[in-house]
């Protein structure tokens, strides 16, 4: 007979072994699929590695893709810590980008550092407020936040689409539905092709680590996540902390939106996020809400995406193959979680 019990004795080595085993099994299973489709899996995997790390260009693209993933994941982790299941990062990214773009498009004659700061503040406010709407209803009426935040994503995307095809369409674009490119004053500076968002992301990882593990406010957030009643009994102003944490969560996602618009795309468009908000939920979860782990997982995930777009150009294998591989790795890693949390005892019948 099988008995399942909680596991407490897992060493770090066993943990890493379990994770690695999951990834290897995913590569193996996907390999069979690729083989059936008439391609050589080893060659494809090697090419993906090469695409992600093998050249300066590839590595740079991987890093640029890691930046918004890390920042968004940090935002999501703040909400998840409170067991506020914010899956609305995608919408918060778009609304942050929207708020920043408003200033970039209309007030580009401000001095550059000042404009960039205004844009960053606007994006944090935009994303934060977008998260606060479901947050308010959750705190006040207990409205299901998972479903609410999910719906908010689609409203945000349709809103940006509306702007891009309607009032914000660039009249000089010969009828193409695009928003005018930002002026130089609204573009994030960079070095060697990597925008300054990298430094922001690294700083945020350090700050969030300190905030979550070494400050009173950070501790209060995790207490609320464990038990709201305990927090109330300890004299915390639960509603106020929830609101502040949700603003922080959405604000960070919004900031990621500004960084994408200003540092990567050079303007606002419906492609500014392109699913980062959803991918970040996955990286947050796999990173176990820990800033350092989130950074690692985001980097690996970005490498997977970058490697995927590389095999498309080199092997003419559709990028979809990389999505299959992504899905497969996620399935196995999610499955391995079980063996990390629980152990299975085989016992003889009749005990």
């Amino acid at each position: 007979m099988l008995r399942i019990s909680k596991r407490t004795d897992l060493t770090k080595k066993q943990y890493i072994q379990l994770r690695l085993a999951a990834v290897i099994m995913a590569l193996f299973t996907s390999g069979i699929f690729i083989l059936i489709m008439g391609q050589n899996p080893a060659a494809i995997y090697f090419a993906m590695l090469q695409g992600a790390f093998g050249s300066f260009y590839g590595l740079r693209e991987t890093i640029i893709m890691t930046i918004p993933l890390v920042i968004t994941s940090l935002g999501i982790s703040t909400a998840f810590k409170m067991k506020f299941w914010n899956i609305g990062a995608e919408g918060q990214i778009y609304m942050g980008a929207f708020a920043a773009s408003y200033f970039a498009l209309n007030h580009h004659d401000m001095p550059k550092p000042f404009l960039l700061l205004v844009m960053a503040a606007a994006s944090i406010a935009g994303g934060g407020l977008w998260a606060l709407i479901p947050g308010f209803f959750k705190a006040r009426f207990g409205t299901n936040e998972t479903l609410f935040t999910l719906m908010m994503n689609y409203i945000a995307i349709k809103w940006i689409t509306y702007l891009q095809y309607g009032p914000w369409k660039d009249p000089n674009a010969k009828g193409f539905p695009i928003i005018a490119a930002f002026k130089e004053t609204a573009i994030l500076p960079g070095f060697m092709g990597i925008h300054i968002g990298l430094i922001i992301a690294l700083a945020l990882v350090a700050l969030m680590h300190i905030f979550m593990y070494h400050t009173k406010k950070g501790y209060e957030i995790s207490v609320i996540g464990e038990s709201e009643n305990t927090a109330r009994y300890a004299g915390m102003n639960v509603k106020k902390i929830i609101v502040a944490a949700i603003l922080l969560s959405g604000g960070l996602c919004g900031l990621a939106g500004m960084i994408q618009a200003s540092g990567v795309h050079g303007t606002l468009s419906v492609d500014v996020s392109g699913g980062i908000g959803y991918t970040a939920i996955i990286t947050t979860w796999l990173g176990q809400l820990s800033p350092a782990l989130i950074m690692l997982v985001s980097f690996l995930f970005a490498a997977l995406v970058q490697g995927g777009s590389y095999i498309q150009t080199v092997f003419q294998i559709p990028q979809a193959a990389a999505s299959i591989l992504q899905g497969m790795i996620l399935f196995f890693v999610l499955g391995s979680e079980f063996f990390i949390q629980y152990k299975i005892n085989f016992k003889k019948e009749g005990i």
């Binding site: 996955i282 193959a321 992504q326 499955g335």
Partner: protein, 317 residues
């Protein structure tokens, strides 16, 4: 436009709304029974895509609509089987597992669909899905044309919605299912096989999502195009909330959302300049309103299943 032609135009619009709502209806019914078992599967979009591509591919190969539809259901329920295994047996996070399934399903559809681009459904398959007027019912003025002059899959979706409504609210098994979604520990104590119920309904839910996808690729479009579902899976997730996890209401809700989907197109004739993108927001806005009102009124009838999204471990009780 005079009154008679306006009425005819409105009937034309409503007929198209029913058709546009059908893929949503299948997916919504599928997600409804899935969520009734307490599992929030956000992989609807991925499962619809898997169903769409499998149905289309098998329709091309076998030229037989039954094989095509079976393949669509099997493919999508295979996807939901992965979700069920992860979330029920291995107790993984439901949101993350569902999102992963969407990535995976989109990957499968994109990979296989790459060779299908531009192909059209064979005539022998198409012939099966021509509109058939139902005798008597189809002759009722107005309603007859709007509801009873359609293809066979639309009639099947009516029957399915009503059948699932009866199943859910008037049978023993339906009661058990609702108990599993509301309070799995109590259901377990009452001798209901919680995991079995979850597996069966997640798999059946997946099959229905697959049918919804196949309706798009085989009947609605009917040709292969990349990302053929275009977010309809997410609309279905919204619709489940809008209709309060109720198959009967899903019937009306799907046609309402289907109507919103094509409204902009039909408004052009009147020179009404409402952006389709703003109209496209409406399904989500009304869904949020429903969600908020149910929580304010604390209405039990329209609230989400209590244990939705919460994994059940007997050992943790």
């Amino acid at each position: 436009m005079d009154a008679a032609s306006l009425a005819a135009y409105a009937a034309l619009f409503l007929t198209a709304a029913v058709k546009a709502g059908t893929p949503l209806l299948y997916a919504t019914l599928g997600e409804t029974i899935t969520e009734r078992s307490g599992n929030l599967n956000l992989g609807v979009e991925g499962m619809m895509l898997m169903g769409a591509v499998a149905g289309f591919q098998f329709g091309l190969i076998t030229r037989n609509p039954l094989f095509a539809l079976t393949a669509a259901m099997l493919a999508a329920s295979l996807g939901s089987l992965i979700f069920a295994f992860l979330t029920v047996t291995l107790r993984a996070n439901q949101v993350v597992s569902g999102l992963s399934l969407t990535i995976f399903g989109a990957g499968i559809a994109g990979f296989i669909g790459q060779k299908l681009s531009g192909q059209v459904v064979p005539a022998s398959v198409k012939a099966w899905f021509y509109p058939v007027k139902i005798p008597l019912l189809g002759d009722i003025p107005g309603i007859g044309q709007i509801l009873f002059n359609h293809d066979i899959l639309i009639y099947l979706s009516y029957m399915l919605a009503i059948g699932l409504g009866i199943y859910l609210f008037n049978t023993r098994k339906g009661l058990n299912l609702r108990a599993v979604g509301e309070n799995p520990a109590a259901a377990d104590a009452a001798g209901i096989g919680v995991s079995l119920y979850k597996y069966v309904h997640i798999l059946a839910g997946g099959a229905l999502c697959g049918l919804g996808g196949a309706y798009l690729s085989l009947v609605y479009v009917p040709a292969w195009q990349e990302n053929i579902t275009a977010g309809r899976g997410w609309i279905a997730v919204a619709l489940v909330i809008f209709v309060a996890w109720n198959p009967y209401k899903a019937l009306l809700g799907a046609f309402f959302f289907g109507g919103l989907d094509i409204l902009g197109l039909y408004l052009q004739k009147f020179d009404i300049k409402v952006s389709q993108y703003i109209i496209n927001m409406l399904p989500y806005i009304v869904t949020i309103l429903v969600l908020v009102f149910t929580s304010i009124k604390k209405s039990k009838e329209n609230a989400p299943p209590k244990a939705l999204g919460v994994p059940y471990f007997r050992e943790d009780r």
